[in-house]
Assembly symmetry: C2
Homo-oligomer: 420 residues x 2
Amino acid sequence: MDIQEYMQNVGQAARQASREIARADTRQKNAALEAMASAIERDSEKLLAANRRDVEQAVAEGLAPAMVDRLTLNASTIASMAEGLRQIATLPDPVGEMDDFCYRPSGIQLGKMRVPLGVVGIIYEARPNVTADAAGLCLKSGNATILRGGSEAFHSNQAIAACVHEGLAAAGLPQTAVQVLETTDRAAVGALITMPEYVDVIVPRGGKGLIARISAEARVPVIKHLDGNCHSYVDEKADLAKALTVCDNAKTHRYGTCNTMETLLVHQAVAAEFLPQICAIYAAKGVEMRGDAATRAIVGADKVGAASEEDWFTEYAAAIIAIRVVDDLDSAIAHINHYGSHHTDAILTEDYSRARRFLREVDSSSVMVNASTRFADGFEYGLGAEIGISTDKIHARGPVGLEGLTSQKWVVLGDGQIRS
Amino acid sequence: MDIQEYMQNVGQAARQASREIARADTRQKNAALEAMASAIERDSEKLLAANRRDVEQAVAEGLAPAMVDRLTLNASTIASMAEGLRQIATLPDPVGEMDDFCYRPSGIQLGKMRVPLGVVGIIYEARPNVTADAAGLCLKSGNATILRGGSEAFHSNQAIAACVHEGLAAAGLPQTAVQVLETTDRAAVGALITMPEYVDVIVPRGGKGLIARISAEARVPVIKHLDGNCHSYVDEKADLAKALTVCDNAKTHRYGTCNTMETLLVHQAVAAEFLPQICAIYAAKGVEMRGDAATRAIVGADKVGAASEEDWFTEYAAAIIAIRVVDDLDSAIAHINHYGSHHTDAILTEDYSRARRFLREVDSSSVMVNASTRFADGFEYGLGAEIGISTDKIHARGPVGLEGLTSQKWVVLGDGQIRS
């Protein structure tokens, strides 16, 4: 069968399954999630064997060690997959939630009902745990899903898919509600993102290059996460002790995450007091510092390298930080809106009016006062789990959980009303 | 200046203005709306003169009478434009609304703030009143907008733009917050829908062909309205007197609107009683009827023509109706989900469980019980005004008002919290 025909069949089956999944009741969906978790636990040896095949091939082909690391499953990551599915079962079912009912002057009663999006396509790299996670989130939110993981994880993903299908069948749900593509042909991705008749939204999870390419070629809406170039701004009126703790945490808690602070902005009035203290912490932790002229003059050009224009735009995802002294709140906001990626930005201040202006005027998916940018994720926000973090403004912004995989339709309850 | 360069300049100016408009306060935005309305009233003679130029040319070029009709302004339509802007001023300002604040276990206080989308591009046909309406809605929702109206309305739109700009200036807001393209070059549309760096969303208002073309070529999210193939289903347990009134209204109140019923589905158990009555009403009003074999057998093949497969898919937007007898609720839901356009569909029934199933299982932007499909619009839903009706599931579904032109960002209020 040629790849276009294969994808047409997958799409049709997903559309068909989406109608059954949309009306599945909560108990049925939770039973499927529990059964998937049990199957994964029971089959852990099988999963490890399939994963070994993938890992051996990846090593032989010279895949980068960091990628091999993410590809590799062990007893603990398999237990986490099962645990993740059970946690999704405990989350409230968003489907069918009704809100905002009110009577209109015509006598109709108007409200909204939360409904699944339909068919969700997820494209991700060689991380087998995403297969279970994404399958669980889409099922609970009432969507059918088509999963396309990195080809390096092919055998691992097929083994996980078998457990997922067993769980669906055990709960009386169609196995086509979760389809893991049985091909590594790249043309399958091209087909998946250009079938608006079968796919309602695409969620790409992976590097910026992958996401940019998918966004450019998709004929289906994309919930995308580009970069996380996050800022902390230490205002003139900051409590410097708090600022020190928060700016330490925002940069050094974890270097590789998208909500890690990449640029520190400091008001000129407190720079001479604050910068030497925070830079001593960074230096002690081995963080490379790149600053503007004012920062280097205060901290020392031997300790802080020169930041280029490019640095202000950069998400390092590494133990590197850019530091700039700014004139005032306006300069800080202008810097963030210009160089930032509209992900997560924080102000450190005790000044009410400045905090209020920062929250309103910084155009980012999360804006914070006196808190570490590291809080911007689905777990900390209480979403239970996240399918990704959106840097878009349309549909969903910031961490996307079950609600982001749904939409709302209007409900009108009448008693024979007609329009006059 | 070449058209690409011109559009780059327009885009840059819009992005710049969007930041000012986003933080404009409610009073300022309302003052601008009032000043626009006053300018339109004061300049009504100028507007009529500009419009006469467009209309004369359109007539000379043989534009269809219905389109000339929509293009033509008169004293009353000009008064409506001004009145529409004043009504938008009375609507609550959605920007900055804060919701859902709660404390998380970490101690941060988490909530959401409603924010503008940024820059909205609107592409529409030769209806000058849309220029004022769209400008007003985008301004109130804190967005900058780029308007591209049909070339036949060029002079009318420029005259309205002058009033809009005067209103913005009077309130101290940048005139570039509303830009009406000063070109009729079609390449401008191609540029507008492929500038994601300057345009956040495109709202096309017009025929299905225009919208399909824009959706296919856009590199920017599109809030689109395709067809309105709406259904009423008269269930076995319907109150037939109510059903008669509602099905009459849904079809005959207005023929050309997108929320008009196009196909009537009737449960077999009540078909013999209900169909002759409703068909007598349609016949008396000159509605052409096309039915399946069962309908024709009941009502008479002389009164009801034969419906083809194509009829079930068709939005007539005319005094024509398709009629089908169905076996049961399941058949009705299956018909609607298969042939419909996911716009607005109603069930007529007194049966609780059937109403509940219809609401849940029909996948449309508005689902109704015992009410006319004609209620599906922004005014009847209390949105005050609508920028369009979305048949998409992503971002906004059904009538789109001020809220649909906004998004929500996350707000975190802390007191020095760090992530552990």
